[in-house]
Each structure stands twice: as structure tokens, then as C-alpha cells.
């Protein structure tokens, strides 16, 4: 397990060093790298699909209201190579996400790191922003 995590961390480090790995569309046209977000919530839906994996989670606001957020990640092939599996994240999991927010101000973001709160395992969601 420790070795697997080490491999994931190494892969993240190498990709982070190599720049943006979002393959499908222009990152800059949809997300703002100057809009860093970090939030914790409960996973409500996982779409393990191409060209991007999307997952959704309920986030509780300080006033008690709940908002559903959608997060884009890389493609299944990219995440499989980073150590994810299609069941790494399940509905009901508590996760903490570091992401870059959408330019249009909607509740969408591009996830870069995802931590599974139950195990503390930190998984790569997408590389740091830059040019695609």
C-alpha cells in the first residue's frame, strides 16, 4: 500500500513538473488558475467516463445549506496510469478536493488533488493549471 502510494506521489510529481496534462479542451477557456478552491464534502455521483471523469459532491455551507459541486478530472486512461481504479471513490465517501474554479462562477471546478478522508490517501485528479 505504501509502495503504491509512493508510486502515485512520484507520478504526480513528474506530471506536475511536466506541466498541464488536460488533454481534451482548453483549460484556460473554462477554468481560472487564479481561483484556487479547497473544500470537503460527500460524494453523490461519479462519472468514470471519457473524455473527462466528473464527480459530484454535496458541500455544506457555514449556514447549514448544502450545495452540489461538480469536479472535472483527467481521463480514465490518465488516472488509471496514476493508480486510480474506477472504484477508488464511491458514493458516500467523504473527500477533500483541491481545485481551480470555473470562470463562469458556476459550481464547477477542475480537481487537482483528491484526498479520501477515511484513509488519508491523496490521489491525483489533474495536474496544476497552465496551458493545456
Amino acid at each position: 500500500m505504501r509502495r503504491r502510494l509512493a508510486i502515485v506521489v512520484m507520478c504526480v510529481a513528474s506530471l506536475a513538473a511536466s506541466g498541464r496534462a488536460l488533454a481534451h479542451h482548453s483549460f484556460a477557456a473554462e477554468f481560472d488558475e487564479n481561483k484556487p478552491l479547497k473544500m470537503t464534502g460527500t460524494v453523490t455521483k461519479v462519472e468514470w467516463t471519457n473524455p473527462h471523469i466528473w464527480f459530484f459532491m454535496d458541500v455544506k455551507n457555514p449556514d447549514g445549506s448544502v450545495v452540489n459541486w461538480g469536479f472535472e478530472m483527467a481521463s480514465p486512461s490518465q488516472l488509471l496510469r496514476q493508480g486510480w481504479k474506477n472504484n477508488s471513490m464511491k458514493i458516500g465517501d467523504q473527500v477533500t478536493v483541491e481545485a481551480k474554479g470555473a470562470r463562469d462562477g458556476s459550481n464547477h471546478a477542475n480537481a487537482q488533488n483528491v484526498t479520501l478522508n477515511a484513509t488519508g490517501q491523496r490521489l491525483f485528479g489533474g495536474p496544476p493549471p497552465g496551458q493545456q
Binding site: A23, H25, S26, N50, P51, G70, S75, S77
Partner: protein, 269 residues
């Protein structure tokens, strides 16, 4: 018939050996499996510095899974710090693409990268299969392919324009030279947005310098977009050993809706 049976039996045994050697989980995903023909160091790891493999005719064998090491090449095809000599219409189109943050890149609409930038998408490797009459490029991104014919045929005259055009290849020493023409407009030469027209002709020059390195340049000749031919930056791709391509399609394009709003957002900046 007996040869076929023998071949099938050997394939079965090889498959069984692979299952035993790598475990079923790894084999099921084909993410990590020892590929035959891979030179290895004493500890069993792929030796990417081994000499360039050669095919039966003595020419370098370009076969393998190749990957851009970063996004530099797909982002900007011309040499670093330079811009090619664009004619006014191409320059205006290029400026529009840069000003609008590249939101109209064909991928937004689930259309793939083209020639040459499909080879430079760092997130998705591509595979070269070199055979005596044709060299095939299989692109993981969007599950596409190109064929480079080496059987002596000429480029077609007045072909139906195609996204990837029509390609023929020849050897100049150890360099594989690929000429492509018959393009339709639509693809971008790179993510930055350098345009081309249907007059585009490309010349790609591939040189596998060792087992793990494939170097190339691309010359762009498009008299309707550029005042003179220009040659790309020097590009170097790396081999991804002991793995396979995975499927990548465009089945859930959730981004499209927000990307359509991008031109407004881009102008606000």
C-alpha cells in the same frame, strides 16, 4: 493449417506465461506487462538507452508506444520564441484564437488533434506499428489512426480532403521522411492556434536515436496561410515501455456548455 495451429498454441502459452508472470490484475488492464523485444538492464528494467532496433531490411524500426514528455510541443509548434510568417488572414485567425483562450480548439467539439500535433498530446501516448508496406500510427486520444504508405505509391491527385490528409513515407539514410497532403481545413497545427488551409503540405522527419528516443521535425508548407515554408522546433518523444494504449473517446462532453461562454469571458479580460 498446422502452422496456424502451432502459432495459436504458442500464443496461448505466451499468454499463460504472461498471466503467471504479471498477475491477472495487471494483465487485465494491460497497464504494466513485460513486452517481448524490449532490451533490459541487469535488474530487468527496460533499457531506454539501448541501440535503435532495426527491422529485417536493416532500417530503423520506429515501432513502439511514444509520448511527448510535456505539453511544450503541442502548445507551440514553431521554434521557441518565434512566430512563422503568417499571411494577413491567417494572422487574424491566429490572433482571434489566442484572444479567446483557445476555446474553439477542435477538441471542444470532440474533434481530435491533427497533423502533426496528435503525436504531441502528453496525456495520451500513440503507437507506431512499422510493417514493410505501411507504417501505422494509432492515437490513444479519441481512438484515431494514420497510415503512412511505404509501398511506393505516390500521393493521390486531387483527393477528397481529409482531417489527417494522405501520407507516404521513404527512408533517407536512417531518417524516415513522411510527406502528407490532401488536408481539409479544421485542425489546428498546435493548441496555441496556428492555422492551416487545404493547401497544407507537411514533411515530417523521424529519427529514432536509441531504443527510448524518437526525434522529429515538421516542415509546414501552406502558401495560403504562410508566406514561406517553416520548420517546427526540434521535437523529442520518449518511449513508454511495457504498457499498452487505453481507450479514450468523447462520450461525456460536459465542458461544451461552459466553453461556449468562453468568448464573452475572454473579451472581459
Amino acid at each position: 493449417m498446422r502452422i496456424c495451429e502451432l502459432t495459436a498454441w504458442r500464443r496461448t502459452m505466451v499468454a499463460l506465461a504472461l498471466v503467471c508472470g504479471t498477475g491477472t490484475t495487471a494483465l487485465a488492464q494491460w497497464l504494466s506487462l513485460p513486452l517481448p523485444g524490449t532490451p533490459r538492464t541487469a535488474d530487468g528494467k527496460p533499457n531506454l538507452n539501448a541501440p535503435t532496433p532495426r527491422s529485417a531490411d536493416g532500417k530503423p524500426d520506429l515501432s513502439g508506444i511514444w509520448n511527448a514528455p510535456n505539453y511544450d510541443f503541442v502548445q507551440h509548434l514553431p521554434p521557441v520564441g518565434t512566430e512563422p510568417p503568417m499571411l494577413p488572414a491567417a494572422a487574424a485567425l491566429y490572433k482571434h484564437r489566442v484572444d479567446t483562450l483557445g476555446y474553439e480548439v477542435p477538441m471542444t467539439y470532440c474533434m481530435p488533434h491533427g497533423v502533426p500535433d496528435a503525436m504531441f498530446v502528453a496525456a495520451h501516448p500513440f503507437k507506431i506499428i512499422q510493417t514493410p508496406g505501411v507504417t501505422i500510427l494509432l492515437f490513444e486520444e479519441f481512438h484515431k489512426y494514420r497510415q503512412v504508405f511505404t509501398d511506393g505509391r505516390k500521393l493521390p491527385v486531387d483527393p477528397d480532403p481529409a482531417w489527417y490528409g494522405y501520407s507516404i513515407g521513404r527512408w533517407e539514410g536512417d531518417t524516415f521522411v513522411v510527406e502528407t497532403a490532401g488536408f481539409k481545413e479544421g485542425s489546428w497545427l498546435d493548441n496555441r492556434g496556428h492555422p492551416h488551409t487545404d493547401a497544407l503540405r507537411t514533411t515530417e522527419r523521424f529519427h529514432r536515436t536509441n531504443f527510448g528516443t524518437l526525434e522529429l521535425t515538421v516542415t509546414v508548407d501552406d502558401p495560403k496561410a504562410y508566406s514561406q515554408p517553416w520548420t517546427s522546433r526540434n521535437i523529442s518523444l520518449v518511449l513508454r515501455p511495457d504498457t499498452e494504449l487505453l481507450e479514450h473517446l468523447c462520450e461525456n462532453n460536459r465542458d461544451l456548455e461552459r466553453l461556449k461562454e468562453a468568448p464573452k469571458i475572454g473579451r472581459e479580460q
